[in-house]
């Protein structure tokens, strides 16, 4: 950008040389797109710079996404978030390639990022700080790690939801299934790669024989929260029924999925990591919630799908909610962090959880600039479905469009904060016979980072 958007003067070092108006910075709006995922970060309307940062790294198979939100009251928060996102994605991808388990790699990446942010501080009273959330999306599971209140969501997305009357993609899609018929997206017909190639890989693991059976998943130390058994279809079923009353994509037999949290939920309220078949959770105890369906939403939206928040905010509001306190002051202080990365943070103890999705969908990793406006998983899922407009998230360009749409939503809702959204379709491409389009050790090039430097 070389001319001022206001007076047309030449821009010099970020400002107009005639009228002085600030020119948009590179970090004001950043987009990253890989074959497997996409991320968008925006300064928003109210902050003078983008203190969020993000990084994506593509593995074979799998995708690593990291989002960090600089703490505005700390010095150089944008440096903290950039350092943490870059370091986290690099270490996470590297440790996974070196053969560590997703949980070990996730914890190590968060701790290394914490150390890197700590080293930015000349003293504890001058400590850059940020939040941290990572997601490793493999063909089998999703492992999230976090410190602070940036979040990861599982959003079950039913393909073809908006194309009533058309057949929807099954899960997993048929080998020759491409974009849904009638999709007007730029789908490359005959490119079944994301779906077809993954068929063998995305088989949902059969649930470990849980003590209580499928209807009674028993995650360690956690009361089952909002879970319900869902009928399933065979994994290799063909195209599902068409019509307005298209069935939901079905997980494998015996798999349970989390239900959406009720719409009136306090966004800061802790959601236990969804106890899904094969999944491991260790989240804070949370209130048991009945599975409820949003009734006010159009039937075409993803009302009944098992979307869920995968992380539990390290925030004052969450702590209060966990204690059952619901006061005005609790909601006012909901955003006060109780954990972060920084030299003034004390010992950093990242939370790590693994979640096994029961069907296709997207993993959303985001800063509070988005979830402040759209905290409920089912509403996020609906927004994603709307952005997809009937396409599969794996379709070329679809993930980026979803990320853009969510960022746009936050901006249209006020854009009070920086907003960062990473969208990783599940199952991720790669691992299949034709995964060569996106394979190899591309560390460094693949770690695309957003945020100011």
């Amino acid at each position: 950008m070389n001319t001022c958007t206001d007076c047309g003067g030449a821009v010099e070092d970020g400002y107009c040389a005639a009228c002085g108006l600030r020119a948009p910075a590179e970090s004001d709006h950043v987009e990253i797109e890989t074959d497997a995922a996409a991320a968008v970060s925006d300064r928003g309307h109210r902050h003078s710079r983008n203190e969020d940062a993000m990084a994506l790294s593509v593995l074979d198979p799998g995708v690593v996404a990291v989002v960090c939100d600089g703490v505005s009251s700390s010095p150089r928060p944008e440096v903290a978030s950039g350092t943490a996102a870059r370091t986290g994605a690099r270490v996470l991808a590297g440790e996974l390639r070196a053969g560590r388990t997703p949980e070990e790699a996730t914890r190590l990446a968060a701790l290394t990022a914490a150390e890197a942010v700590k080293e930015l501080a000349p003293s504890a009273s001058n400590a850059p700080a940020c939040t941290y959330v990572s997601a490793f999306v493999s063909p089998a599971a999703v492992t999230v790690g976090w410190v602070g209140d940036s979040r990861a969501y599982w959003l079950a997305v039913r393909q073809g939801a908006e194309t009533a009357g058309e057949s929807t993609l099954p899960f997993p899609p048929a080998v020759n299934g491409s974009a849904p018929p009638g999709s007007d997206g730029p789908a490359e017909a005959g490119d079944p790669r994301p779906a077809g190639s993954a068929t063998a890989e995305i088989r949902v693991p059969a649930p470990e024989p849980a003590a209580g059976g499928p209807a009674d998943p028993e995650p360690v130390g956690t009361e089952p929260v909002g879970t319900e058994p869902v009928d399933t279809e065979p994994v290799d079923s063909g195209p599902a029924d068409a019509g307005a009353d298209v069935p939901l994509p079905r997980p494998a037999p015996g798999v349970t999925v989390p239900s959406p949290r009720s719409p009136g939920d306090d966004p800061a309220r802790p959601a236990a990591a969804p106890p899904v078949g094969g999944g491991r959770t260790g989240g804070d105890p949370a209130e048991s919630q009945p599975a409820t369906l949003e009734t006010g939403l159009p039937a075409t939206l993803e009302t009944g799908l098992p979307s869920a928040l995968l992380t539990v905010d390290d925030s004052w509001g969450t702590q209060m909610a966990a204690l059952g306190v619901r006061t005005r002051s609790a909601s006012r202080n909901a955003h006060v962090l109780t954990a972060w990365l920084g030299a003034d943070a004390g010992e950093v103890r990242p939370h790590v959880e693994t979640f096994t999705p029961a069907g296709p969908g997207v993993v959303l990793v985001c800063s509070d600039g988005l979830w402040n406006y759209l905290p409920e998983p089912h509403r996020l899922a609906a927004a994603v479905a709307e952005a997809l407009g009937g396409r599969v998230p794996h379709e070329r360009g679809a993930a980026l469009e979803v990320a853009r749409a969510l960022v746009r939503f936050a901006l249209d809702s006020g854009g009070r904060d920086n907003v960062t959204v990473a969208v990783v379709p599940f199952p991720p491409p790669g691992g299949g016979p034709d995964a060569g389009t996106r394979t190899g050790d591309q560390d460094g090039q693949d770690i695309s980072e957003g945020g100011p430097q």
């Binding site: 002085g20 108006l21 109210r46």
Partner: protein, 429 residues
């Protein structure tokens, strides 16, 4: 010079303006790391007033001679120097013909022997002395040029216009520190010369402290790594630069020294820089913007002009309009502090002037205000000097009584040192 020192520029401000707000204040701190490569060649001219008034009382010429010899003693080996005697005309003392000699044990002794024989005679034409010094510097060609002027400051044999013309010529060519001898000189007049030539002014009152003062002054002058540095300030179209002041280590209003250097930008001379830090207070009036608008209200650069212009450091003064009153009403602490320090200097000068004019009410009010400001900001050195001129009843409220038996030297010390400021802690970046 290829090895210019690195300059760090740090801007402290509250960039938030309320709706309709136009006034942007910032404290710009400039820190120079000092000598980067080989120190540039330095030259020193010592000017000693030998006018007839220096004989009344004759202790003045004795003091001036001693001061000049102390200055010679502090010259580093290899520094080119000259000694000039001033009366209604300027004449060479050392070397005998116009020129400069490298400092060595031998040349220092030769120079001191000649200084010892100086006797007061004739009138006073300070402009002509500066003119000769300028001539010596021009012929010598050293990059760092420093002069010390020792005088009783009564410029009787040239008009103020003549002096102003010569000051205009010499400004920017060399730096001149002025030292008043005795208690019979005009602080304001000597301050005018020192300010024009980017130097300081002080009183030679304490013979014991003389050598230390000169050593400090010449060492500071010779320790400079880069000369002729300009503070360049760019402002947006439609904006007005209300003032540019140096506020630390001393208050010097640079507003009137502006030289236009391009569209919307002006240069303010800052002289030579060694390993040191100075603070500047900049105030810009910008056209009002709508809520959410962000702009650069001023772009500050440290520049060494010339055929190959060098930018040593830059900093941004910003403006952003916000509806959030908590942000726009917050006073930046350093801006507030230095606003107080500048007021402290003017309160002292106005108070002393009123005192001399016999206006006791104004003198008491202004000096009382100065006491309160010095107390509040922790400027102990100035508070101590003030207590020699007024009896302090309550420093917090500035309740004072003028003292009757004030030593002339104390009053002049307070006047000359009124511009010395104290710093505050830097706020977080």
């Amino acid at each position: 010079m290829s090895d210019l020192p690195e300059f760090q520029v740090h801007v402290d401000q509250n960039r938030y303006l309320p709706e309709g707000g136009q006034e942007v204040h910032a404290i710009v701190t400039v820190e120079s790391a000092g000598v980067a490569g080989a120190a540039p060649r330095a030259a020193e001219v010592i000017i000693i007033d030998t006018s007839g008034s220096m004989a009344m009382p004759d202790v003045k010429i004795v003091e001036a001679r001693r001061a000049a010899m102390a200055a010679v003693d502090t010259l580093r080996d290899g520094v080119d120097f000259a000694v000039v005697a001033g009366s209604h005309e300027a004449r060479m003392v050392f070397p005998p013909q116009p020129g400069m000699v490298a400092a060595s044990e031998r040349s220092r002794e030769d120079a001191k022997a000649l200084i010892r024989r100086l006797t007061p005679d004739g009138g006073t034409a300070i402009g002509s002395w500066l003119w000769l010094a300028n001539h010596l510097f021009e012929r010598n060609g050293a990059a760092l040029r420093h002069a010390i002027l020792l005088t009783d400051g009564k410029n009787q044999h040239e008009s103020p216009q003549q002096l102003d013309t010569i000051l205009g010529v010499c400004a920017g060519r060399f730096v001149c520190d002025c030292r008043g001898v005795g208690t019979d000189w005009e602080v304001a007049e000597l301050r005018k010369i020192a300010t024009a030539l980017l130097g300081g002014v002080d009183i030679v009152a304490d013979p014991a402290g003389l050598e230390a003062d000169f050593r400090e002054m010449t060492e500071a002058a010779m320790g400079k790594a880069v000369a002729d540095v300009m503070l360049r300030v760019w402002i947006p179209q439609g904006a007005r630069l209300r003032f540019v002041k140096q506020v630390a280590p001393t208050v010097v209003d640079l507003t009137g020294k502006r030289v236009d250097s391009g569209p919307q930008s002006g240069d303010y001379p800052t002289g030579s820089w060694g390993r040191e830090s100075r603070d500047y207070h900049i105030c810009v009036e910008v056209p009002p913007g709508e809520i959410g608008r962000e702009m650069r209200a001023a772009w500050v650069k440290l520049v060494v002009p010339g055929a190959e212009e060098r930018v040593l450091g830059t900093g941004n003064v910003l403006a952003e309009w916000t509806a959030d009153e908590a942000k726009s009403t917050q006073l930046n602490q350093r801006v507030a502090h230095y606003t107080g320090q500048a007021e402290l200097a003017s309160a002292i000068q106005e108070g002393l002037r009123a005192r001399r004019d016999g206006d006791e009410a104004t003198a008491t009010a202004r000096l009382g205000r100065a006491v309160a400001l010095a107390h509040e900001s922790g400027n102990e050195a100035t508070a101590r000097l003030l207590r020699k001129v007024v009896d302090v009843m309550d420093p917090a409220t500035g309740t004072v009584r003028l003292r009757k038996d004030v030593d002339k030297a104390d009053e002049m010390s307070l006047d000359t040192r009124s511009t010395k400021t104290v710093r505050t802690r830097k706020e977080g970046a």
